[in-house]
Symmetry: C2
Subunit: 206 residues, 2 copies
């Protein structure tokens, strides 16, 4: 990171559509090569322009990353909140959350991959504090649902609830690393299969 001066926005007004398009391209490169391994020149290449031209649209490389992750999380919580505010039982809530997660993976595959790889190093920067907040809401939503399920007798009571949380969480989100849209499985179909395994296990019932 060579320089860093003030961070005032340029007086010019780039079109939001072009911004979105460039962010989509940048997200794909970030996801494939990793944020740090991705140079602005690679992004510019993929967009068919030169490195400096990106700075007509964005303040910095880091701003692109932030906008990608923030857009994703905003949309994610739109979906989650509507699920969580619905009058569902714990099992139905879990099913809806998992399904919604796979839909988000389908829509924001690259952003999810970036989030998983980079969020851990980013949370220490004040600029990315919203990642921590989101993560806490996320954990609370899942833990509450699991606890509710145990209380209601629909989830097993003999499990470490925090371990179960991480189990479900990781199970769902790592799918972004191999999932490819249009690969025969719809998000709903994958969600169904995953839920079948998470809820009932892969062993035959005896």
């Amino acid at each position: 990171m060579p320089k860093q001066k003030q961070q005032k926005k340029p007086p010019v007004t780039p079109s939001p559509e072009r911004r979105e398009e460039l962010l989509r391209i940048a997200a794909d490169v970030f996801a494939e090569q990793g944020y740090n391994a991705t140079t602005v020149r690679k992004i510019a290449d993929a967009a068919g322009m030169l490195a400096g031209s990106l700075y007509y649209h964005f303040d910095s490389k880091e701003s692109m990353l932030e906008e990608i992750l923030r857009t994703f999380l905003t949309e994610l919580w739109d979906g989650y909140d509507s699920v969580l505010s619905a009058p569902l039982g714990p099992r139905e809530t879990l099913e809806a959350l998992v399904t919604e997660s796979f839909r988000e993976i389908d829509r924001h595959r690259s952003a999810v991959a970036i989030y998983q790889k980079e969020s851990k190093h980013l949370v220490s920067q004040t600029r990315f504090e919203y990642l921590v907040e989101s993560q806490q809401r996320f954990e609370k939503a899942w833990l509450t649902t699991l606890e509710r399920g145990v209380t209601d007798g629909v989830f097993r009571a003999d499990l470490d609830i925090r371990l179960a949380y991480r189990f479900v969480r990781d199970t769902v989100w790592v799918a972004a690393s191999w999932y490819r849209p249009g690969g025969g499985h719809s998000p709903e179909e994958i969600a169904r299969q995953y839920l079948s395994m998470v809820l009932d296990g892969i062993a035959v019932r005896t």
Copy 2:
């Protein structure tokens, strides 16, 4: 990557013990900050020396990464091979593989974390071709075990076997991202709980 000339080893002979120690340190930094974000100066700092001094022990930064991953995979396959060659039923094989995996996470936490984050970009380089080979053996071992289980009637036949494979695989290895040795749970204890969830699910049986 500024220069790159011949790759002949130095005529000097550094002690293997010191090499191992430095690799342990490097692995920790790689795992925490990511390979690309880790500069050789950071590694040297953590080791209490200067950047150039590392080159007395290693050819390059990439050599360190390769040796870390290769050491890990070698030991991993030592464990896996002894499990796979044992006369076990499919369920017992799966249990043993999962347990062995958590033991490896316990022993090579940093290497596992590095492997998960970086292997995807590395496989395209000829230097890291052994990663692909390992991954193929890995997939074959797991798929065979799962198929054997379906044939024997101990695993459910109504599941997409490749989805189940990724499910089990990811479930196990992402644990390296949060697992901390000496954190109350032994590898065997975590394996037991994970197996309970993977095999029987988290829902109460009705």
